[in-house]
């Protein structure tokens, strides 16, 4: 079945993805996503009833450690990468009125 992606869906996915697409990008995204989903729908040919979803190929166990700080203070180097910095903190646009 051919997938059709609506304007509302693209708008909604854009909100989830935190992306602001131009009108041209939106049209392209509708087509790209529909094509990919048509292709992904191929998986429905397989009966997976009773098959457990496999997130990891090996049985993984949670790795615990003591909650002890082992790294040093690297504030200066880390803040060097900040687009906005003031008094040892990250500066962002105003978030509360």
């Amino acid at each position: 079945m051919a997938n059709v992606i609506s304007d509302e869906t693209i708008e909604y996915v854009g909100v989830l993805a935190k992306l602001e697409l131009s009108p041209q990008e939106k049209e392209a995204a509708k087509k790209d996503m529909a094509d990919m989903l048509d292709y992904i729908d191929k998986l429905n040919e397989l009966d997976t009833t009773g098959v457990e979803p496999m997130s990891h190929v090996f049985p993984v166990e949670n790795v615990f450690r003591e909650d002890v700080v082992t790294n040093g203070d690297d504030r200066e180097n880390i803040l060097k990468n900040a687009p906005g910095e003031k008094d040892g903190m990250f500066v962002v646009p105003k978030t509360v009125e």
């Binding site: 992306l19 996503m33 990919m36 989903l37 292709y39 191929k42 993984v60 900040a82 906005g84």
Partner: protein, 486 residues
């Protein structure tokens, strides 16, 4: 003889023996960089000053008789998605254009401990999303065998740099074939280890359940030697596995007597280039002549690997790339009205088209109402694919087939049709889904002189069997690039 024609292991021996200095090796490699880099563009960042400083330090250690490491003084290139303390790390993305990490990836630390000298950071597809290195925000890398063709991707800069002699070996990462496919296109050796073998600490994540770091080298001995150094357990990666069997160079034996090699019929069907097919089957014959038991079999489910992969990889990417928001590092858009506007503008301006495409798809398949139908469905099919491999490895030690369906395409051909580009990953991505080790070795050239890659896939933790088969093949053909393979 030109120094840059030596393998990494050969160079290390000469440096250790005092025959060549670390500085001389570095000078030779930078001369090659000056000759070739303008055309090929393998690197995003070169650190000439840092490299010479480091070479001096290493040389002093050697002269003082101190242990300087297994690859002391050997120049290495690092893919630009591995963090290097104090050296710009961009993922070939505008959004990380000015990012300078405060720490190094574990694999980088391991190489530095072994005395390797970092030359610079290699070009790649943006965030490793692509198969040609053309989605880089910093321009394309060209294939050293034909500059009108792509080097493959996403570790295209690393593979091209090794092939061109612009380094002695390189490090790449492989999420769906990103080490093996460029190795195939550039005529070098590339290995993706078993998931969990090399720590992912400091690797900028794309698809965390699929990503593995591995070596790109001139020959099989180098591949084993480098893997031995970076296969270390790391508490900072919760999926890192403590392995006891990491003496990979011990597997370099020329005999393959009794090695059971399975050739999946489903890897030789529609879409496979005739010349690639002939070269790969000839390599299978070479291994048979050397004593291996080679037989055909049906692997099954091959055509479901790509849709499974793109669902899972896009889902994980959409989550992993949420961190790029313009707050703590990287690019920030100007003139933002409030926090959300800053996030959106920064990401929309900072990411390229392919990255946005995968983030959108990933956000969709994880969204409420579609999660079960797409994401969980893909994880169920992944379980079936793993089972098919488990079944095959009860009978075979190694699965042999092509790395890619074709040799390197022309620049610009692939991006015009993303679906076609995705199909090029058909033989490589299953190994990532099933966590298996897999490698690509050169097995001759097509009529146009472009390298063909032979892929060897092993069961989990069986890198040694791959290396043994690869080494035996390399010895049987008298070495790679000698023209005797095909």
């Amino acid at each position: 003889m030109n120094l840059v024609d030596l393998t990494a292991v050969e160079l290390a021996e000469k440096i250790k023996g005092g025959e060549v200095s670390a500085r001389e090796a570095l000078e030779a490699v930078f001369r090659r960089v000056e000759e070739k880099e303008e055309l090929l563009h393998c690197y995003v960042t070169l650190d000439r000053e840092g490299a010479f400083k480091r070479a001096e330090e290493i040389q002093k250690k050697i002269q003082a008789g101190e242990a300087a490491g297994a690859l002391a003084g050997v120049p290495v290139a690092i893919k630009d998605n591995l963090c290097t303390a104090g050296m710009r790390t961009t993922c070939s993305s505008r959004i990380l254009d000015n990012f300078v990490p405060a720490f190094s990836a574990r694999a980088v630390e391991d190489l530095e401990a072994a005395g390797a000298v970092i030359l610079g950071k290699t070009n790649m597809d943006e965030f490793a999303m692509g198969s040609t290195t053309e989605t880089s925000a910093f321009g394309v890398t060209r294939n050293p065998h034909d500059p009108e063709r792509v080097p493959g991707g996403s570790s295209g800069g690393s593979a091209a740099a090794v092939a061109a002699g612009e380094c002695f070996f390189a490090i790449g990462s492989d999420t769906g074939g990103s080490i093996r496919q460029p190795a195939s296109f550039c005529g070098v050796v590339g290995l993706k280890p078993t998931y969990g073998t090399v720590s992912r600490y400091g690797l900028i994540a794309y698809g965390s359940s699929l990503d593995q770091i591995g070596p790109l080298t001139r020959d099989v001995r180098d591949c084993a030697a480098v893997l031995e150094l970076i296969a270390t357990h790391d508490k900072k990666d919760s999926t890192s596995i403590k392995r006891e069997d990491t003496d990979f160079t011990s597997a370099l034996r020329t005999d393959v007597e009794g090695l059971r090699i399975g050739v999946p019929r489903d890897y030789f069907g529609e879409g496979l280039d005739k010349e690639v097919k002939a070269a790969v089957l000839k390599a299978a014959d070479t291994l048979r002549d050397a004593g291996a038991d080679v037989e055909e079999f049906d692997l099954s489910l091959v055509e479901y690997a790509i849709p499974t992969y793109y669902t899972i990889a896009a889902a994980e990417a959409s989550s992993n790339l949420e961190r790029f928001d313009g707050v703590k590092y990287g690019y920030r858009a100007e003139d933002c009205q409030g926090l959300h506007s800053m996030y959106k503008k920064t990401r929309s301006q900072g990411f390229g088209a392919e990255v946005k495409r995968r983030i959108m798809l990933g956000s969709f398949v994880l969204s409420s109402g579609y999660y079960d139908a797409y994401y969980l469905k893909a994880l169920r099919v992944k379980a079936l694919i793993k089972k098919a491999f488990d079944h095959a490895f009860r009978k075979y030690d190694v699965i042999l087939g092509p790395t890619a369906p074709t040799t390197a395409p022309r620049l610009g051909e692939s991006l015009a049709d993303p679906m076609k580009m995705y199909l090029g990953d058909i033989y490589t991505i299953s190994a990532n889904l099933a966590g298996l080790p897999a490698m690509s070795v050169p097995c001759g050239k097509d009529a146009g002189g472009l390298p063909v890659g032979l892929q060897l896939i092993g069961d989990c933790f069986q890198e040694k069997k791959l290396l043994r088969a690869a080494y035996a093949y390399e010895q049987a053909v008298g070495g790679f690039g000698t023209g005797k393979e095909a």
